[in-house]
């Protein structure tokens, strides 16, 4: 415990066990162990290393005796045990003999396996497996916003890390010797015991802050995935964001809850959905629907949607296990990377259209109110640009939509000027009032690309129109 108390700094836990590889980055200090990020490979472990040895032994035997031992269940079992034993021996010895007498038989009589395996050969057989642990380490560092040089200590966990080559690879990447202070086989049990002590109240000076592995959010206008909780956020956690309606007089919204990292909602995992009804008739973008994600201490996700004007609220509870498995999480993260470029384009496409749409709506509204207060020339220019933007939305060419949006924004500035003059004429103090922050959102603001009204409205709240 004294050892733990003194610990301070950034630690990497490199866990290469029997079946999976996990790398975690933690920030440690004042007894608090804060997980910053995690990554890994759910299909990489000691057993994969054994397989390489088994293949090698079987190949050697086949070359020598012409018999494929892999077709023989009993022989295979013995090979498996021998491979594991050899692997372990080669952590301390530089070579070992694999002796399996009477491994099989054919018409000519019994056959024996006798193969010499060196440490160098083993390292060659598993080199790609070892190298494949580097990428997750890189990604975990990136997620944590750190570089290898920021790491103070590397801890090896899992029997497989006893292999000298593992230490070498880890040292090569992090540029420091892994810590020798812990027994890699015992460290997991120790950690579990300490955490049990914390939960029971026996261990008072240690706290583990774990994180949620994947982002959580809802589907919004155009099918995009709007995150409310980013992956690697410390749990328990609670986050809220205010959304609004996409159509005039929209009476209900459907909240579809997704888990994942893809930009388009349906590429992620749907965890659940519910409707909030009874929204009083209002122009689109007016209602304030507050969506809250609350992950409690048991890992249960509570999602609620509340109409701030009526106080009406609906919610669902999603079990922690209702999400993705470790395998699925890993696949999700990988898929997101592979599709990053394409996803980004899709999202930008949706955002461009949504923004243009909102601009058309707002401009028409303002023309009605302020059209008289500007010159015929200016007004006619705005009307032309407005028509061109509407046409471009029909044609669905993103570049042209962007171009026409720009043009309309520019020409509409004349109207903006007229509006400000108008307001200043009415209010002696000339107080524009609200800042751009949404006063109702208590947490870190999420920048919203849909908001383009700053030129025209004095009250501007961060909002994304919600799909009905």
């Amino acid at each position: 415990m004294a050892l733990i108390k003194k610990q301070s700094g950034t630690v990497v836990v490199y866990d290469l066990g029997g079946g999976t590889f996990d790398v975690s980055i933690l920030e440690v200090g004042d007894g608090v162990f804060e997980v910053k990020s995690t990554n890994g490979d759910t299909h990489l472990g000691g057993e994969d290393f054994d397989l390489r040895i088994i293949d090698f032994l079987a190949d050697e035997f086949k070359k020598d005796q012409g018999i494929d031992l892999k077709n023989d269940k009993l022989a295979l079992q013995r090979l498996k045990e021998a491979a594991e034993k050899a692997k372990i021996e080669l952590s301390s010895a530089t070579q070992t003999d694999v002796n399996l007498p009477f491994i099989t038989a054919d018409q000519t009589g019994p056959k024996h396996l006798n193969v010499k395996l060196t440490r160098a050969k083993l390292e060659e057989l598993v080199d790609d497996l070892l190298q494949s642990t580097i990428d997750p380490c890189k990604k975990a560092l990136k997620d944590a916003g750190l570089s290898a040089s920021d790491i103070d200590e590397v801890i090896l966990v899992g029997g497989m890390t006893r292999m000298p080559k593992v230490t070498e690879i880890v040292k090569g990447f992090f540029d420091k010797e892994p810590s020798k202070g812990v027994n890699p086989d015992e460290v997991v049990a120790m950690g579990a015991a300490i955490q049990a002590g914390v939960l029971q109240g026996d261990v008072k000076d240690v706290l583990l802050l774990d994180v949620t592995p994947l982002s959580l959010g809802i589907e919004t206008l155009g099918g995009v995935f709007t995150k409310l909780i980013e992956r690697n956020t410390t749990v328990p956690t609670k986050k809220s964001q205010v959304f609004s309606t996409a159509e005039d007089n929209q009476a209900a919204v459907t909240i579809r809850v997704f888990q994942g990292e893809r930009e388009m909602a349906t590429d992620n995992k749907l965890l659940g959905q519910f409707d909030l009804v009874g929204i009083p008739p209002a122009a689109r973008g007016t209602p304030q629907i507050e969506v809250t994600f609350d992950i409690d201490a048991n890992g249960i996700v509570n999602v609620s949607a509340k109409d701030k004007s009526t106080g009406k609220e609906q919610q669902i509870k999603i079990q922690a296990s209702g999400g993705l498995s470790d395998d699925e999480i890993e696949k999700m993260v990988k898929d997101a990377e592979v599709n990053a470029e394409e996803d980004k384009k899709k999202r930008e496409g949706v955002d461009t259209k949504n923004t243009a749409d909102a601009l058309v709506f707002q401009t028409e509204k303002n023309l009605k109110e302020y059209g008289e207060k500007i010159s015929e020339e200016d007004k006619s220019k705005i009307e032309t640009d407005l028509k061109e933007l509407k046409d471009s939305l029909e044609k669905d060419d993103l570049d042209i939509i962007k171009e026409k949006s720009e043009a309309l924004t520019q020409s509409s500035m004349k109207m903006g000027e007229a509006m400000y003059k108008d307001q200043q004429g009415q209010q002696p103090e000339g107080d524009p009032g609200d800042a751009s922050a949404n006063p109702d959102s208590k947490d870190g603001e999420k920048k919203d690309d849909d908001v383009i009204d700053a030129d025209f409205e004095e009250v501007d709240e961060d909002k994304s129109a919600d799909s009905k």
């Binding site: 608090v32 914390v198 328990p236 609670k238 800042a435 922050a437 006063p439 870190g444």
Partner: protein, 73 residues
């Protein structure tokens, strides 16, 4: 609103990064549900503390806060 984040962590506005981190850790120790079994208020407080820390520890978010502040006419 920005005051709330500093208040939540029991800090004054000029607090340094290390003060912010230290305050967060103390608060986390105090309010985390693992150490407060069966106390829903503690869990609620922990979430607020986490959110405050998330904003204050991130230079970009912190700057965003400040520019909103100084914007008041």
């Amino acid at each position: 609103m920005a005051d709330d984040f500093y208040n939540t962590l029991g800090l004054s506005k000029g607090a340094s990064d290390s003060e912010i981190k230290s305050a967060y850790r103390k608060m986390a120790m105090k309010y985390h549900p693992d150490r407060n079994q069966g106390k829903p208020d503690a869990e609620k407080k922990f979430k607020e503390v986490s959110n405050a820390y998330e904003v204050l520890k991130d230079p970009q978010k912190k700057t965003g806060l400040r520019s909103i502040w100084t914007c008041s006419f």
